[in-house]
């Protein structure tokens, strides 16, 4: 099994990286971009097949460590 975790800045947090990337995209001619948000992507390779146990453990890890709930949101997928 493999877990895919996407961490993004919360909407309320100013994301200067996203804004800078957006400006650069516009400079290279990309059109129709409303906003860019720069986050992180983590892949966790798992041993075993107990999906509910893996999910429970990783939800906690995402909440307590892999993301900071003060400034970030996360999305966890296990496949």
């Amino acid at each position: 099994m493999k877990a895919k975790i996407i961490v993004t800045p919360k909407k309320a947090v100013v994301d200067p990286q996203g804004k800078t990337v957006q400006q650069a995209l516009e400079q290279m001619g990309c059109q129709g971009i409303a906003a860019v948000h720069v986050g992180k992507y983590l892949e966790v390779e798992l041993v075993g097949h107990d999906l509910p146990a893996a999910r429970q453990q990783l939800e906690e890890a995402c909440h307590r460590f892999l993301s900071n709930p003060v400034i970030e949101d996360y999305k966890l997928e296990i496949e």
Binding site: A12, V14, T20, L66, V70, I71
Partner: protein, 237 residues
């Protein structure tokens, strides 16, 4: 007084803190490696600046799992004073010992310059000897010092007077120009609800000797020493 200065892999202001505490202020100060499980009977803890664990994942995110941080948690819960400077502030926020978080500077630039700080309350071990009119000129050196907290937390910080320092200009005004990193409400440092844990992004240890251009940072350490001395006197009485 006996100070424990924590040392994580990547800390780089630890020796500066020991230098100021020991050689400038005449205190006993010792380094505490992050794998230690105790604080060696310290009266106060300094979590110094640097780039603990290479700033991997998020600044301060990994350091909070070090064994010594469990001792810091217990020490803080018992009312012991803990001061986090720069990366130390980031670590204390990540460890949940201080509210809020530090994110990338709004300018995306690493800012390395002297700033002015206004002390907002003398009601803390770190500010009790500092008046609001006395601006402190100390340097900042960080890429991720933009203080963020949600609206409810920010309101609570104001109500409880937990904001200890704001970035101001030379006239003491907290305007946008004086804010080096985009921190909400120009916040440079905050304390915990029980006031014994504090953090700030500027470096008081780099402004404690005349040869370095400012001795204003000394006031913060002196305030803490004074607080510890009075507490000892009360305990002895």
């Amino acid at each position: 007084m006996n100070f424990a200065v924590l040392q994580f892999p990547g800390s780089n202001c630890d020796q500066d803190c020991v230098q100021v505490l020991r050689n400038v202020l005449g205190q006993s100060a010792h380094l505490r490696w992050h794998k230690e499980k105790s604080l060696g009977g310290a009266d106060a803890v300094i979590v110094p600046g640097g780039f603990s664990y290479g700033d991997h994942l998020r600044t301060g995110a990994i350091a909070r799992f070090s064994p010594v941080m469990q001792a810091v948690r217990t020490f803080a819960a018992q009312g012991g004073p803990v001061l986090g400077i720069c990366n130390g502030f980031q670590i204390l926020c990540e460890a949940g010992l201080l509210p809020g978080a530090l994110v990338r500077n709004r300018s995306l630039q690493f800012r390395c310059e002297h700033v002015y700080l206004k002390t907002l309350t003398s009601d803390s071990p770190f500010t009790q000897g500092i008046s609001g009119d006395q601006l402190l000129r100390v340097p900042v050196a960080h890429g991720e010092g933009c203080y963020f907290a949600d609206a409810a937390t920010l309101a609570q910080l104001n109500t409880n007077r937990q904001i200890l320092w704001r970035y101001v200009n030379a006239r003491g005004e907290a305007d946008e120009h004086a804010n080096p990193n985009g921190s909400l409400e120009n916040i440079a440092g905050v304390c915990s609800e029980h006031r014994n844990v504090a953090g700030l992004m500027p470096h008081p240890e780099r402004a404690s000797e005349a040869i370095l251009g400012s001795t204003d940072g000394r006031h913060i350490f002196e305030s803490l020493i004074q607080w510890l001395t009075s507490r000892k006197a009360i305990q002895a009485a």
